[in-house]
């Protein structure tokens, strides 16, 4: 997938933002924070995982997602979101 395809989805960006902020969350918790339905979240999580940006750990039925620390793409996204958040704080906006 091209970078513009990854970043073109508002839901995917929100997932990345919430995981960059919280570190690790299960599908239901991400869904609640995004305010979308479970299937939508799960579908976008699959896309991001297929791109190696996310990884998950499985405990029975529970899947905990986080940014894939070993992935250069995930590290770049984390840096981008941190910079965005920081500039938002400086200008008094919420990122």
């Amino acid at each position: 997938m091209d970078v513009e395809d990854i970043f073109s989805s508002r839901v995917r960006m929100k997932i990345l933002k919430v995981l960059a902020q919280m570190g690790e969350l299960n599908v239901s918790a991400i869904t609640r924070r995004l305010g979308v339905n479970y299937q939508t979240t799960a579908r976008h999580l699959d896309v991001l995982e297929a791109e190696d940006i996310l990884q998950h750990k499985k405990f029975g039925r529970i899947r905990l997602y986080r940014l894939n620390e070993r992935s250069p793409k995930a590290r770049a996204i984390q840096t981008l979101l941190d910079a965005w958040k920081e500039s938002g704080v400086k200008s008094g906006r919420q990122s």
Binding site: E24, S28, A29, K57, G60, L64
Partner: protein
């Protein structure tokens, strides 16, 4: 700005959660505890360990285990072994096996979901995490009696046998169980009990001399030089000794006396500051002990406090307690719990050392359970509970 006196150098050193570098008069017990776990440093994964630490309130059980946890984790790290020391106060989690395990898991995964699985699954997840991260854990169950009372044998059996069902896998989970009275494990079935009873460390109550040493150590690190005269330490040690050799009580009193000295702008903590401090606290029962109680335990205790306050009685019957508990429930707009449930609450309160129970000699109507409030002024207790119940918006 006027200059105010401050007797403290670092009052955090008197906090209940502070783990001192040195534990006066517990060196032997600390060495023994380290000895029990020595294999973990030399042959990690070969076996797991279970140790009981038994002693009255304020005998240093929690401080001992936390000091051990810090030392053991550091020592394991030096040897390249990944070890986590997890300290859980079972009463804080109302003795729930589920919540205790959930707390243990959040050490590794802080955002682990709060529901959607059973306690048995949580134990499996915990072992999975330890395997995946190639780490070992010492799980310390403080106020272990609360878990025994709430969950009975099953939970403890699962914990102690969790390794045995994992044949040919590293032994990753060890247990330290802390309790006030060894008789609490008498409620467990024989096979569960037998898995726990092999290593017991008994902590005797402190003598006055020992309490003076403990207080002196804290004074050095928490107060400015010369801020606490010897006579003050002696007075506090005497009071702590009369509270069953309770060092925790002594340290709390020392902190509070320092606060009174500051409030009056004194440059040292006098015996008078100690007297003022002692009259302001609920002896032998920390406020946090009361905060851990659930709503109905608090209401039951509130009723008891009122019975004792108004009647100048030495004891009351369970039937009387039940009646006034119902009044308290009505006052706080909540449905009263059953007689059987009240029995459990009475056990909890008795286990926490807040009340004492006794079965009367057989009378014309058979035997009656008598409830005593031996150490806490009923008026103070009522005030404290009332504040807690209001605060919780009950």
């Amino acid at each position: 700005m006027p200059q105010y006196q401050n007797v403290f150098k670092d009052e955090a050193k008197l906090d209940i959660n502070y783990v001192p570098q040195r534990l006066p008069h517990r060196d032997g017990e600390l060495r023994l505890l380290m000895e029990f776990f020595d294999f973990m440093l030399h042959f990690p994964g070969k076996m797991s360990q279970r140790v009981l630490i038994v002693g009255e309130v304020g005998t240093g059980k929690t401080a001992l285990s936390q000091r051990f946890g810090v030392d053991m984790t550091r020592e394991a790290g030096n040897r390249g072994t990944n070890l986590h020391y997890i300290h859980v106060n079972c009463r804080e989690y109302h003795g729930s096996f589920f919540l205790i395990l959930q707390h243990a898991i959040t050490v590794f995964h802080p955002n682990f979901p709060k529901r959607g699985y059973s306690a048995e699954e949580l134990l499996t997840f915990l072992m999975q995490i330890l395997d995946e991260e190639n780490t070992y854990a010492i799980l310390t169950l403080d106020e272990f009696d609360s878990l025994v009372l709430t969950e009975g044998s099953d939970a403890v059996y699962q914990l102690t046998r969790s390794q045995e069902v994992r044949q040919n896998k590293p032994q990753r989970l060890s247990l330290v169980c802390i309790l006030r009275d060894i008789s609490a494990i008498g409620q467990l079935d024989a096979s569960t009990r037998s898995t726990l009873q092999s290593n017991i460390i008994n902590l005797a109550k402190y003598s006055k001399r020992q309490l003076i040493d403990i207080l002196n150590e804290r004074v050095i690190i928490a107060f400015k030089p010369l801020a606490v005269p010897e006579e003050t330490i002696d007075t506090i040690a005497e009071l702590a000794y009369s509270e069953n050799g309770n060092a925790r009580f002594g340290i709390e009193l020392l902190w509070r006396a320092g606060k009174y000295a500051n409030a009056e702008n004194f440059d040292s903590v006098s015996a008078e500051s100690v007297r003022k401090a002692i009259s302001s606290i609920v002896p032998a029962t920390k406020k946090s002990d009361l905060a851990y109680l659930n709503l109905h335990e608090k209401l039951f205790l509130l009723g008891l406090a009122r019975l004792f306050k108004d009647g100048h009685k030495a004891h009351v019957s369970l039937a009387e307690a039940e009646q006034i508990y119902m009044v308290a429930c009505e006052e706080f707009n909540t449905e009263p719990h059953s007689h059987t449930q009240l029995w459990k609450y009475l056990h909890t309160l008795s286990g926490a050392g807040i009340v004492k129970t006794e079965v009367s000699a057989a009378g014309p109507r058979g035997r009656t359970t008598l409830v005593y409030l031996p150490r806490i002024p009923a008026a103070d207790l009522e005030k404290e509970l009332w504040a807690l119940l209001q605060w919780k918006g009950a």
